[in-house]
């Protein structure tokens, strides 16, 4: 059997491998190559070496601002999303009436597209700020907290489902034993629940970090970067560079490569760190 699998391995892998190469690997490599060139379309690329990277960091003050804004946003939203999601998950795994109903409700925002969400929250937030005679574009802080709120609203339900799955996997005996030993609610949480759901934490952290870092649609629809470019996150900044300036496509591409490296490194480190804390069931 195993021998057969080995023999037919190429047949089964090849179609996927080809599509993977065509739709992922080739564009990816081309993207990296383009970041070293000046181009209008893929055909007209001219090699310029590292100039694009230099321009991205030296001539363009927006890039570093966007990077800093994105980092702040990611830290705040990762913490709030995971805490809220975990809290909801512990609540909704209790033997209460209507937990299934609430799980569905909390999950639902995740099914709405980012652009739609952005516009809906834009209206909601503006109608509240309207009482004070301003709107979301008035201050970068409004935009920041608006984005955090939106992101929470959208992702809490999804993360909650993952935490619920993790909590439900914890064997009941552990809780029973803790109860017999007279452990308090908090120490049960600290010493049993949290260590046992570490695999879920790893996944949730990974998803929230990468999603927050790569946020684009919501950013575009909610604030569009206003005021000025103060609330433009990295992805939006790259988009603006690519399409907003003649001859800057290469710089946009260079930023995108830097962006990829940052996301990849952070995600990798995070997986290592939280992965180490996981315990075997």
């Amino acid at each position: 059997m195993e021998k057969n699998i080995k023999k037919y391995f190429p047949i089964f892998v090849l179609p996927t491998f080809i599509s993977f190469t065509v739709v992922f690997l080739i564009p990816f490599v081309m993207g990296i190559i383009l970041s070293f060139t000046e181009f209008t379309t893929v055909e007209s690329a001219m090699w310029v070496g590292l100039e694009n990277y230099l321009k991205a960091f030296t001539q363009d003050d927006n890039f570093l601002n966007a990077l800093w804004f994105t980092v702040k946003f990611t830290i705040v939203s990762v913490i709030t999303i995971n805490i809220c999601a975990f809290f909801l998950a512990t609540l909704l795994t209790k033997a209460l009436k209507g937990t299934a109903f609430f799980r569905t409700i909390f999950f639902m925002p995740n099914l709405i597209g980012g652009i739609v969400l952005g516009y809906i929250w834009n209206l909601l937030i503006n109608s509240i700020l309207g009482i004070f005679g301003v709107d979301i574009t008035y201050s970068a802080d409004y935009g920041f907290w608006g984005l955090v709120f939106l992101m929470n609203w959208q992702l809490i339900g999804y993360m909650m489902v993952i935490y619920i799955a993790g909590i439900q996997n914890i064997p009941g005996e552990l809780y029973e034993a803790a109860k017999i030993d007279g452990a308090s609610g908090i120490s049960t949480l600290k010493n049993i629940t949290i260590p046992m759901v570490m695999p879920s934490v790893t996944i949730c952290m990974f998803l929230t970090i990468t999603n927050s870092f790569k946020l684009f649609d919501q950013n575009l629809a909610l604030t569009g970067g206003a005021p000025a470019r103060e609330t433009a996150m990295l992805a939006l900044d790259i988009y603006n560079t690519f399409y907003g300036r003649i001859g800057w496509q290469g710089v946009g591409q260079a930023k995108a490569v830097v962006f990829f490296l940052i996301v990849a490194i952070i995600a990798f480190l995070q997986l290592k760190i939280t992965g180490r804390k996981e315990v075997e069931n």
Binding site: I11, I18, T41, E43, T137
Partner: protein, 451 residues
């Protein structure tokens, strides 16, 4: 034996994968049957609102000449993105649009020389075309104009008010900023009596919706500045700017935001559609926009503005001799032909342009459906669009006593410059930036984006 079988299987799989892709491609192309069946030209259309009309034109053109015209349309505000994406493929447009000298600079490797084309020979004003080194690369196919659109019904109502505080009797007397300011402010005081919420429609300052100010309105001070300095617009002298008439820009901008339907701190979420709807619903008396806005005004449900009451006023901002100032008339729609297409396709695209603006059928589409004011001598006086705003533009254009302001914003350095200036205008309206800072952003960004 087994090995060869597995290799064969792999090949079959791969082939079926590719043939599936191929088949899909074939479906996209309408099958041609007549004599010119092999020629297919692609046109990347700029305006989503006229996509259906172009598809109709393509059908008629196919019936007449046999040439297949595939019209693809870029989503609103996404033309450059779509063009960039399409240009690299083997489905690159043969006929596309550039938006002026800056657009040409971006696409110069793809623009064919059009100086020998029939269409260029019929162009009324050759100075409108995009010329570089004596060769023509872009032919304007429409002229458009913008200014302050006003609803005569409401202004007449104002002039008949008992308690009006100005001596003016009709809009024809308004020929300067001071006159405009005095009636606007008095109208704003009497807004309730006039049944309006504000004199001007909301100054839409949401990101991406602020082009009426950061581009169109800014055109006027920029035009006067370069005019004063006798700057050659195609030279490098346009790389720096003083924004000499910034105070004049501020005057009219203040007038817009202080006498508006919307409180100025809330302008950051207003979009152009909302402004036009306010005008169409009679909630305001004036709005700055171009003649393309007619379709928007017409399309608003419950619209109360009568076509015969829609008039144009030049944008006065307190400049010298402004009583002789006309509307801003020009274009940012230039046809360009892809120089990387085959010779036959380029020829076919030329023929199509010519057909559209010369043949009876083509002209009918242009004036009646696309409602374009075409700048070619093949159009006679009575072959002009009938919508009220286009009529007004033509009236102002033919008015010998005023000077028309060209669209110099086509030399604005980049979209980033415009976006940054627009954002600064919003912050000025909200009170978080003062005018000196706005002015500084204008001059700094102009210089840095011109590099």
């Amino acid at each position: 034996m087994k090995k060869s079988l597995s290799i064969m299987l792999v090949i079959v799989l791969v082939i079926s994968l590719f043939s599936a892709c191929n088949r899909k491609n074939n479906n996209n192309e309408p099958t041609g049957q007549s004599s010119n069946e092999n020629i297919t030209i692609r046109f990347l259309n700029f305006k989503p609102e006229v996509a259906d009309i172009y598809n109709d034109i393509a059908k008629t053109y196919k019936d007449e000449t046999g040439v297949t015209l595939i019209v693809e349309t870029a989503a609103s505000g996404n033309y450059e993105q779509t063009l960039t994406a399409k240009m690299g493929t083997n489905e690159a447009p043969t006929l596309f649009q550039i938006n002026g000298p800056k657009g040409y600079a971006n696409w110069k490797n793809y623009c064919a020389d059009l100086s020998e084309t029939q269409l260029y020979k019929h162009l009324n004003d050759k100075s409108l075309a995009i010329v570089s080194d004596g060769k023509v690369y872009g032919i304007p196919y429409v002229v458009e104009g913008y200014g302050i659109i006003y609803n005569k019904e409401i202004t007449d109502k104002y002039f008949n008010l008992d308690n009006k505080a100005t001596e003016y009797e009709s809009m024809d007397e308004i020929k300067s900023y001071d006159a405009l300011k005095s009636i606007v402010e008095d109208m704003q005081k009497n807004a309730e009596k006039l049944g309006i919420k504000g004199v001007f429609a909301s100054t839409s300052l949401k990101t991406g919706e602020d082009w009426r100010w950061q581009t169109h309105l800014a055109n006027i001070p920029v035009y006067y500045e370069f005019e004063d300095k006798n700057t050659d617009l195609s030279s490098d002298d346009t790389k720096t700017i003083e924004f000499k008439y910034s105070e004049n820009f501020k005057k009219i901008f203040d007038l817009y935001i202080n006498n508006s339907v919307t409180d100025k701190k809330k302008l950051g979420s207003k979009i152009v559609d909302e402004s036009m709807a306010e005008f169409a619903l009679g909630q305001c008396a004036m709005v700055q926009n171009g003649n393309w806005a007619w379709s928007q005004i017409k399309g608003v449900k419950g619209n109360v503005v009568k076509a015969e009451n829609i008039k144009y006023l030049p944008i006065y901002m307190g400049l010298e001799k402004e009583e002789n100032q006309g509307l801003c008339i020009g274009t940012e729609n230039f046809f360009a032909i892809n120089s990387k297409s085959s010779k036959e396709e380029q020829k076919a695209a030329e023929d199509f342009m010519y057909w559209l603006f010369l043949s009876e059928k083509g002209k009918k589409y242009v004036t009646e459906e696309l409602e374009l004011i075409a700048p070619f001598d093949t159009f006679s006086e009575d072959e002009l669009p009938q919508d009220p705003l286009a009529q007004e533009v033509i009236r102002w254009m033919n008015n010998e006593s005023v000077t028309t302001i060209p669209w110099n914003f086509t030399i604005f350095p980049s979209a980033t410059f415009k976006a940054d200036f627009g954002a600064a205008l919003l912050q000025y309206a909200q009170g978080t930036k003062n005018w000196d800072e706005v002015k500084k952003i204008f001059t700094d960004r102009w210089a840095s984006e011109s590099k």
